[in-house]
């Protein structure tokens, strides 16, 4: 359908975006890789650098070559496996909750009832809130074990309020993040549901198909494509969740990979280590993306 001329034009049209994104990706990436092989600390005492590599020159930024030691140090940090595990658990759980929850909510919203517009905006709202604000609100006013709202609810039914961030930090983070992403999934799935053929619905009704079979054989396949979209987009954002972990101060127990990189970079001021961590996180993310595409990519005929 596209002529030779259009194809050439097409390449030209895409060029600016590709160039821009390429620069955006390559330049910081290259610098980060470079830094990851240096002993680069924002506050490094000169003494330490020259002791490890006697006689080696270092410039005013106190850098000197470190070989793979930054990577080794990051990977042997006891916090690393925990952080990686948390990253994967967070993504997994939020995906599961948002896909299942989103489907259920979409089915609900697809029905006719009074005040759909208002309920719809109530359900969308969490997605519109700034992650930092959301984290602050959840941490203080909802989950505080003494004066928070959830504590109040627990006491109301005679249970001991849970100290979320001390005992169930990852669960708390999952709740906070899922709260924001379920609306997103709901919307996508809902809109897809609404495009379900009216005739198919009627035919199923007239045939007396039980609702469960109807759901399984007709609705679900139709939803597979939007579900794929949801999973893909969410994974990209969820792998880099940061605000919630940072604000709630659960980095020690529920910290994920981005948080660990942050700890290295901005708390310990070890830029070399943080860069190595960043590269490791990119590699991990690409592995996840690869598997994801293998599993569900076929649902997404471009």
């Amino acid at each position: 359908m596209a002529t030779q001329q259009t194809r050439a034009l097409g390449r030209l049209a895409v060029a600016p975006s590709v160039i821009a994104l390429f620069m955006w990706m390559i330049v910081p990436l290259a610098m980060t890789i470079y830094f990851s092989f240096l002993r680069y600390s924002l506050l490094d005492p000169n003494y330490a650098c020259s002791v490890l590599h006697p006689g080696q020159l270092f410039d005013e930024a106190n850098r000197c070559l470190a070989g793979f030691s930054n990577y080794k140090y990051f990977l042997t940090d006891p916090a690393f496996f925990r952080a990686m595990g948390n990253s994967l658990k967070l993504v997994g759980w939020v995906l599961a909750i948002s896909v299942v929850g989103g489907t259920l909510l979409a089915l609900l919203l697809d029905q006719a009832f009074y005040g759909r517009g208002i309920v719809r905006i109530m359900m969308i709202a969490p997605f519109l809130v700034m992650p930092t604000v959301s984290a602050l609100v959840w941490k203080n006013m909802m989950m505080n074990p003494v004066s928070g709202f959830l504590a109040y609810l627990f006491k109301l039914v005679g249970l001991q309020p849970i100290d979320w961030f001390a005992h169930y930090p990852l669960t708390a983070i999952v709740i906070m993040v899922a709260w924001q992403w379920v609306p997103f999934a709901t919307l996508i799935l809902l809109t897809s549901l609404q495009s379900l053929d009216e005739e198919q619905k009627e035919a199923a009704e007239m045939d007396g198909t039980p609702p469960l079979s109807y759901f399984w054989y007709i609705v679900l396949p139709h939803l597979l494509r939007p579900m794929t979209v949801v999973i893909l987009i969410e994974t990209i954002f969820l792998l880099n969740v940061f605000a919630e972990v940072y604000v709630t101060g659960t980095g020690g127990t529920a910290g994920n990979l981005p948080f660990l990189v942050y700890q290295y970079g901005l708390i310990a001021n070890d830029i070399g280590g943080a860069s190595a961590g960043g590269i490791i996180a990119v590699i991990l993310a690409n592995i996840v993306a690869f598997f994801l595409m293998r599993m569900i990519g076929k649902n997404l005929e471009a």
Binding site: L42, L43, V146, D163, A166, G249, A268
Partner: protein, 433 residues
């Protein structure tokens, strides 16, 4: 299209003209979001009236965010800030690296409290001017102590504290004998625990920079802390930092609270349900010669290479001057004056009327950053170690100890983990050969 273009050009020219006509110096000040700093922002008219050619721009952030931004900026020489609010932790480190300008317009430098000024001087030059200084002390409920039939000595021991806490605890009525910091953070629980460990004779590192968490003194410290909190502390203590404990104390739920001296003005202020029932005592000790209190001062400093040095020096001088103190006193009362910086403040009879003034001064004087511990150490700093690696290391350690408080590990496990983490870090940074 052409008309639009010339219009834009004209507008740009006008804008350029407008900005050159003003020729004022704009100072960007990075500050922390605590009450005293916020109060200062409300009083800047006093400064700008005397210095009409200087405009002040405030960047107010939470402590951790502030520290990160300022550190990144000064280390990468971003030049985004003209005046920085930094603490007694950063000053020795940055001063030695030549990142700060010596201060020249400080009002009566000899008047500054020696303990605090000492922490801010590098090579004999004052590198930062203290805006407010604090130590830590015991704040207790006089009424609950009376009910328990006890009297709090002015200089209690840890044993006294344990006894008092046991007697004052009434968990059925949500009264907890003692509220202490448990939230993870090098400036949160670790500040408290490090200071506490000093009074137990412990230290972070020995003269060869070997971490000391495997020594009996730290074991005693941690065990005492965990036992005390288990018996007499509030639930969820491992998430409680300064703010949370303040809220608990003000709501009447704590028998004692050992924390920053600046808290005194909050617990006796209008948001407190127990404002008139609070007594003060020095931080506890174990008779080993060091008390469990800390020393901290938020100070104003100027980055080296600043293009606006004169304006910045003027501002720093104004904000830390005796005149400023009087200004606050006249507008908001003596109890709200930034504490802990000047000898003259404590000699002032008006200020002596404030109930916690004397105890604050005594607490500050009881701390010595150059010799913080019973046994000798290669570092300075009372509740921190003034080396760059400390922030990261203490963050990790804080997380470990907070987890112990939450019951996720035993004291021995926590100490072993802390020892490993510290050894790893110190070896990597080359301190341990």
């Amino acid at each position: 299209m052409k008309r639009v273009f010339t219009g834009v050009l004209g507008a740009m020219a006008l804008a350029a003209l407008a900005t050159t006509a003003l020729a004022e110096t704009k100072l960007t000040i990075a500050t922390v979001n605590n009450g005293d700093m916020i109060r200062m922002q409300g009083l800047t008219d006093d400064f700008t009236k005397a210095n009409p050619d200087i405009k002040l721009e405030w960047v107010t952030l939470e402590e951790n965010v502030l520290r990160e931004k300022v550190t990144t900026d000064i280390a990468a020489k971003g030049g985004q800030f003209d005046v920085l609010t930094i603490g007694t932790y950063e000053v020795p480190i940055w001063g030695k690296k030549g990142w700060l300008l010596p201060l020249t317009m400080v009002d009566d430098p000899a008047d500054l409290l020696p303990a605090i000024a000492g922490g801010l001087t590098v090579d004999g030059k004052l590198m930062a001017a203290p805006f407010y200084g604090e130590s830590s002390m015991v704040m207790y409920r006089k009424d609950l102590m009376d009910k328990a039939g006890m009297k709090m000595p002015d200089a209690p021991t840890w044993k006294d504290i344990r006894e008092a806490a046991d007697k004052m605890t009434d968990k059925a009525n949500e009264v907890y004998g003692v509220c202490l910091r448990g939230k993870a953070g090098w400036g949160e629980n670790m500040a408290f625990l490090t200071a506490m460990s000093n009074s137990f004779g412990a230290r972070w590192f020995d003269e060869n920079w070997k971490p000391q968490f495997d020594q009996p003194e730290w074991k005693d410290t941690l065990n005492f802390y965990l036992d005390l909190m288990k018996a007499d502390g509030p639930p969820g203590a491992s998430s409680n930092g300064f703010n949370e404990n303040l809220a608990l104390f003000n709501a009447g739920k704590c028998g004692m609270w050992i924390d920053a001296t600046v808290a005194a003005s909050f617990v006796t202020g209008k948001d407190s349900k127990v404002a008139d029932k609070v007594g003060f005592a020095l931080a506890p000790d174990n008779g080993l010669g060091k008390r469990g209190n800390w020393l901290w001062a938020w100070s104003l400093a100027i980055p080296a290479g600043s293009q606006k040095e004169e304006a910045a020096q003027k501002f720093v001088g104004w904000a830390t001057s005796k005149h400023y103190t009087e200004l606050v006193a006249s507008k908001e009362g003596w109890a709200n004056v930034p504490p802990g910086t000047r000898t003259s403040l404590y000699a002032n009879p008006e200020y002596a009327k404030v109930p916690f003034a004397k105890m604050t001064l005594d607490s500050i004087n009881a701390a010595d950053p150059s010799k913080p511990t019973v046994k000798p150490v290669p570092y300075v700093g009372v509740q921190f170690v003034a080396i760059p690696e400390f922030a990261g290391l203490a963050t990790t350690t804080g997380q470990i100890f907070s987890a112990a408080l939450a019951g996720d590990k035993t004291a021995d496990q926590a100490l072993a983990e802390a020892q490993d983490a510290a050894t790893r870090e110190m070896t990597k940074s080359g301190y341990i050969k």
